[in-house]
Amino acid sequence: MTARQTPDLPTDVALVAAYRNGDQRAATELVGRHAGPVGRFLYASGASPSDVDDLVQDTFFRAFRGLDRWRGEASFRSWLFTIGGNLLRDEFRKRKGCQMLSLDDRDLPDTADPHAELAAAEAERRVRDGVATLPRLQREVFLRRAQQGDDYEEIAAALGTTPGAARVHYHHAVKRLKELLR
């Protein structure tokens, strides 16, 4: 699921080029387009909810600062995930480990079926706890594939590996998670 842009909207490549030419609205458009998925990715990767906004902002800061390093092999969003993942890893190192917070710490949407919602929330909590135990590469591949819906080509380009290797990492991650959640 890499086709994220409709033909009517400017592509990320066009927005990045516009920003490089001084169009700050292009930066706003890129933030609006990708901040949500980046936040979700960081949360799923183990960031505490209270840190997600700051991490997202730091991610964009580093991205805009280092735009010359984005070669376009992977999508702009994948590149943001990589930057965010690196920031999160540095954050974990600083704190000597990840503090997992329960889903009770965040606002859950109102729902007509609170029991189903609670069961889903519990399933999410367990998945998130399990994802946090995965090796970094497996975690990134799993989240990009299952949470973000990226295909293996996209994931491979972002992580500097082959689609086949990315697929193997994904299946390893799934196997481990199924054992953990059993």
Partner: protein
């Protein structure tokens, strides 16, 4: 490739709505507990962090990011400019030290050099005016008499004015000027 692996590869796409199960796949899913467990895992991963929404005001986040970038660039430019300035200041300090150091008079008392004397007017001295050589050459008595003549109420203003053009010499001058101007 087993049916389970085929299903596993397609799960993220179906969970994200990019694809749909075929009837065969649905039948397999209904019959295979392992695939159902994986399907629950993938759908939970797909929802992970769903309550996080893009920033309500992307323009604000973008402006914060861009302001940080601008601030960092200003600091970097300042650092670049600071080094030559610091070098110049150090060179100036060295020159000043050498200059004051060689200020020891050969026949002096051997003390450290004193700062070179700069001619300064005494505090109560009249403000410096452009020197008029003619007046500078006059003795004090002559200057006093000129001042008295100027201050005297009976002094005629035209005494020090250029004679009018009514003088014959001026008429010649005027003719010469007219001739020059054509």
């Amino acid at each position: 490739m087993t049916s389970c692996t085929q299903l596993s590869d397609r799960m993220p796409d179906v969970a994200h709505g990019a694809s749909r199960w075929t009837e065969t796949e649905e039948r397999h899913l209904a019959a295979c507990a392992d695939c159902r467990a994986e399907w629950e895992l993938v759908t939970a991963a797909c929802r992970l962090g769903a309550p996080f929404r893009p920033p309500a005001d992307p323009a604000l986040m973008a402006s914060l990011v861009l302001e940080r970038l601008a601030h960092e660039r200003r600091r970097a430019r300042f650092r670049v400019r600071l080094w030559p300035a610091a070098g110049l200041a150090a060179a100036a300090a060295v020159i000043l030290a050498v200059w004051t150091g060689v200020g020891v008079r050969p026949g002096g008392d051997g003390a450290r050099g004193t700062a070179p004397r700069v001619a300064t007017a005494p505090p109560d001295a009249p403000r410096a005016e452009l020197p008029l050589p003619e007046l500078d050459d006059l003795p004090a008595e002559a200057l006093d008499s000129i001042l008295q003549a100027l201050d005297s109420p009976g002094a005629r203003a035209d005494t020090y004015e250029l004679p009018g053009l009514g003088d014959p010499g001026d008429r010649e001058l005027e003719r010469a000027l007219t001739g020059l101007e054509g």
